[in-house]
């Protein structure tokens, strides 16, 4: 054996199973793109008129306005929260951090229907005001206003996580330099701290923008027509599905544009990576008089994003039981939900493991291409993925159409990037020489994988599993479109009950989703290094 090339994994042949898996994933990832391309080729002149129609323009503006509003409001919530939990002497800090992250377990359609039931036209709040102050009408919260509030309250944790991680990773001597150069705490924050948070802010804001654009639940309940909701309605109308395809094209272009803007900003990233990291933890700032406004702020955020939704679910449930409403409950949606969540999480984690080995350990032609398409799932909205998979399955693999296999394939497209991100980052931290050393002790390839890589990559594997599980459990539009006839999950149950205003019946599956999702959420909080202190 050539002694000097022994460490270069690139010289070895990659395991063909993993190459096959990677190619397979790459193939399913491009399905939505192929579908859209096919649609573009088939465009007629009339279709092009639809693309520039008033309706398309309105949908575009509505989507953009909602996106900007949600990103702004989430920033207003997340920036102070991140700073307070990273830098101040907040009592029970860990508990507050967990509480402000937990809204991630509440699906947007659940949050929206609960808000509607409290603050809506005949909601509890209005009834209370009527009894107390004889106020007959409240401004309608449906539309932009309600959608902004609900989506911001449920998506700010994405920004909170990235910002808090960034703030605790900041080099404190940077701020101290500014102080010793004569700038006080306030100007130091403005001139030195904030500029360094630009990059993490932009990536957190990107997550929220894409989340808002692809959201389906809240906008449908608040009847605010964005791309997601319009495409779904078009699709369901069954009259002319080409309309939904056209809107999908605009939608995906818009999403790509937003990602492009983020990449432009990312170009500055290198400015923020000098020096050898942090040497000293900043001393927590004592809150003093500010304790009360801080507690108030935390309580309002957690109250509206977490406590209100969950307690309302109980209110509806008990009210329903008290008045003897027929609460429909069956076990099958629970089994179905857990079945699809667990099986797609397992499958996606396995795929990501294989793909990350290929991507990180071998320099194969095509790796770069695969890397870029593997992030498509981040950009592609659920409804678009769903209709393209339907088209593909119905036309080419008729046997699988209307089966859970197709449903799980769509989840792979959507959530593969999430798991790949988590798993790849742990593999990157493992020195390949460890694997070489094990090979040197005459273990074969798979033995090394299972005895060296799997144990060392455990945090990433668990994290990837937990995230995919959580996302599939909450997922709605893909499940609605691709689920086999009569296939009910907890998510679809909540949606169908609440859209018919059977609030008590919707409360049961909603509570079960929140309960089941809290487990992987806690796993994520515990394993994510950015959150620990």
């Amino acid at each position: 054996m050539n002694f000097f090339s022994a460490n270069k994994s690139a010289y070895r042949m990659p395991p063909s199973l993993f190459v096959f898996i990677t190619l397979f994933v790459a193939f399913i990832m491009v399905i939505p793109l192929l579908y859209l391309l096919l649609r573009i080729i088939q465009l007629s002149l009339d279709d092009l008129l639809v693309l520039v129609s008033n309706r398309a323009f309105q949908t575009l503006t509505r989507s953009l306005i909602l996106m900007i509003c949600v990103t702004t409001l989430s920033s207003i919530i997340a920036i102070p929260l991140a700073w307070i939990t990273a830098r101040t002497h907040l009592p029970f800090r860990k508990i507050w951090i967990i509480l402000v992250m937990l809204p991630l377990v509440i699906p947007s359609y659940v949050g929206a229907y609960l808000f509607l039931s409290v603050f809506g036209p005949t909601g509890l709040f209005q009834k209370g005001l009527e009894v107390l102050f004889e106020i007959q009408r409240l401004p309608d919260i449906r539309g932009l206003f309600g959608a902004t509030i609900v989506l911001s309250l449920l998506s700010y944790p994405y920004l909170f996580i990235t910002l808090r991680g960034a703030i605790s990773g900041l080099d404190i001597s940077m701020e101290e330099s500014s102080r010793i150069l004569g700038h006080n705490r306030f100007w130091t924050f403005i001139k030195v701290t904030l500029p360094q948070l630009r990059f993490p802010f932009v990536s957190g804001a990107l997550l929220i923008s894409l989340y808002t654009l692809s959201d389906f639940g809240a906008v449908s309940i608040f009847n605010y027509n964005t791309f997601s909701w319009t495409i779904y309605q078009q699709y369901n109308s069954l009259v002319d599905r080409s309309m939904s395809a056209l809107f999908s094209i605009i939608f995906v272009l818009l999403a790509f544009l937003i990602v492009l803007i983020e990449f432009k900003t990312r170009g500055f990233q290198k400015y923020y990576r000098i020096g050898s990291g942090i040497s000293r933890k900043p001393k927590p700032i004592s809150l003093g008089f500010w304790k009360f406004p801080v507690y108030l702020f935390l309580s309002v955020v957690i109250g509206f994003s977490l406590i209100l939704p969950i307690s309302m679910l109980f209110v509806w449930l008990f009210k329903g039981m008290y008045f003897g409403d027929s609460i429909v409950f069956s076990w099958s949606p629970i089994f179905n939900s857990i079945f699809v969540s667990v099986s797609s999480a397992l499958l996606i984690v396995f795929f990501s493991f294989a793909a990350s080995i290929i991507l990180v350990r071998y320099s194969l032609t095509g790796n770069r291409f695969f890397e870029s398409i593997s992030y498509l799932g981040f950009v592609l909205p659920g409804v678009v993925v769903a209709i393209s998979v339907v088209y593909f399955a119905a036309n080419y693999i008729g046997i699988l159409y209307q089966t859970t296999v197709v449903l799980i394939l769509a989840y792979v497209i959507l959530f593969f990037p999430v798991a790949l991100g988590a798993i790849r980052s742990v593999l990157l931290q493992i020195n390949p020489r460890l694997e070489d050393a094990a090979h040197g002790m005459s273990h074969n390839y798979f033995s090394v994988l299972f005895r060296i890589n799997v144990p060392l990559m455990k945090p990433g594997l668990i994290m990837g599993f937990a995230m995919v599980f959580l996302l599939v459990m909450k997922e709605l539009p893909v499940t609605l479109i691709l689920g086999p006839l009569g296939f009910k999950t907890l998510a679809t149950e909540v949606w169908s009950f609440s859209s018919e205003a059977f609030f008590a019946s919707a409360a049961v599956p909603a509570l079960i989703i929140i309960l089941i999702c809290s487990l992987p959420m806690l796993v994520i909080i515990i394993w994510d290094k950015r959150i620990g202190d």
């Binding site: 080099d171 001597s173 940077m174 101290e176 330099s177 500014s178 102080r179 010793i180 150069l181 004569g182 700038h183 006080n184 001139k191 030195v192 500029p195 360094q196 630009r198 290198k270 400015y271 923020y272 990576r273 000098i274 020096g275 050898s276 040497s279």
Partner: protein, 354 residues
């Protein structure tokens, strides 16, 4: 009048006494080095002077004005000090010019430009105004950090381990540069370091800190030749410590009997002591009946460092030998003193190797 005066400063973090009765004095143009192992409190002292730490007791005076006491705490931004951090801490989103201007708030724009040029000349990086920190090498970043702190003409310059992130080649260059930059600017400076060579070569005065206390505060050569106690001696020298007995004005140890000097003033005329054997105090001489043998020979370019060990004990003694030495590994040798200078002795320490 002294620029900086710390009088009996105390500071504790919980149960740990970081600063215990610390008093120092810095006069205009002085360079004071504070040496000690990590965790000895030297950085805490520097941060207390800068205003990043409050103090529990005592007083810190800058130009006669009390900036820290148990009652008073002037904020760092109002102390008019300069500080260079271990990690340089240049603002990554600003170019060199903006970094330097950052501290020049009361200057108008022409004065700012001129001052930037002045300090860049001083640190020998003229024309670097438009570079960004990530485009600079470690040594250059450090000089810019120094220029940035010098620009507002601070009362006093504080340097926190400024060389620890540089490789050894850069270190020597920077040390020389830094010394001449500081001398040129006539800026009073406090340098905190764990590296004794750094401290000896730069400082006018040296403070040796051990466990939050200043154990010796003197000129570097005084400290080198007359360390006040065992801990200081261990910190500032390359030496072996062996046990011995003093009796009738001489110290007996396994190397023989020698005159001794007691810099601590605590040694009775007849007692057990710890003897300090400096690197090169003894020479190894070939002797077939010798009590020692050579364990290693390191080639150092201009000489050899020969390590010898006695057949009985476990102490290794190093000697400096010229290039024409005939010694080889396992050669039997005897150790003879290089000169008749007295050996330093300290009260018996239990932790020494014997």
């Amino acid at each position: 009048m002294s620029l900086l005066k710390c009088s009996s400063v105390f500071k504790a973090f919980g149960n740990i006494e970081a600063l215990c009765d610390v008093s120092i004095d810095v006069n205009p143009g002085d360079i004071l080095a504070i040496v000690g192992e990590s965790g000895c409190g030297k950085t805490t002292l520097l941060r207390a002077i800068a205003g990043f730490e409050t103090i529990d007791n005592g007083e810190i005076n800058i130009k006669g004005q009390t900036v820290s006491s148990d009652q008073i705490h002037v904020l760092p931004e109002n102390r008019n000090l300069g500080m260079v951090f271990q990690e340089y801490s240049l603002f990554p989103h600003m170019n060199v010019e903006s970094n330097i201007i950052f501290g020049l708030r009361s200057y108008d724009s022409i004065e700012k430009k001129n001052r930037v040029k002045e300090v860049l000349d001083l640190v020998r990086l003229p024309g670097y105004e438009n570079r960004y920190p990530h485009e600079l090498s470690g040594g250059q970043q450090q000089r810019i950090a120094l220029a940035r702190s010098l620009a507002p003409n601070p009362t006093l310059m504080l340097l926190d381990e400024p060389f620890s992130n540089l490789d050894s080649v850069n270190r020597v260059d920077m040390l020389n540069d830094l010394q001449s930059i500081i001398r040129d600017s006539q800026m009073a400076t406090i340098l905190v370091t764990h590296d004794k060579e750094e401290a000896f070569s730069v400082a006018d005065n040296l403070a040796v800190m051990v466990d939050g206390k200043i154990n010796q505060y003197d000129k570097p050569n005084e400290i080198y030749f007359y360390p006040k106690n065992y801990k200081v001696a261990k910190l500032v020298s390359n030496a072996e410590f062996i046990s011995g007995n003093v009796n009738n004005g001489v110290v007996d140890c396994f190397l023989g009997s020698f005159p001794y000097f007691d810099s601590t003033g605590q040694i009775d005329s007849k007692s057990e002591v710890t003897v300090m054997i400096r690197f090169g105090d003894f020479r190894a001489v070939y002797d077939p009946n010798g009590n020692f043998f050579v364990t290693s020979i390191e080639f150092k370019g201009s000489n050899y460092i020969v390590t010898v060990k006695s057949f009985k004990g476990a102490t290794y003694i190093k000697s400096v030998e010229s290039l024409d030495t005939n010694l080889a590994i396992n050669s039997k040798v005897n150790l003879v003193p290089v000169n008749s200078d007295p050996l330093l002795v300290f009260p018996k320490i239990s932790e020494e190797n014997d």
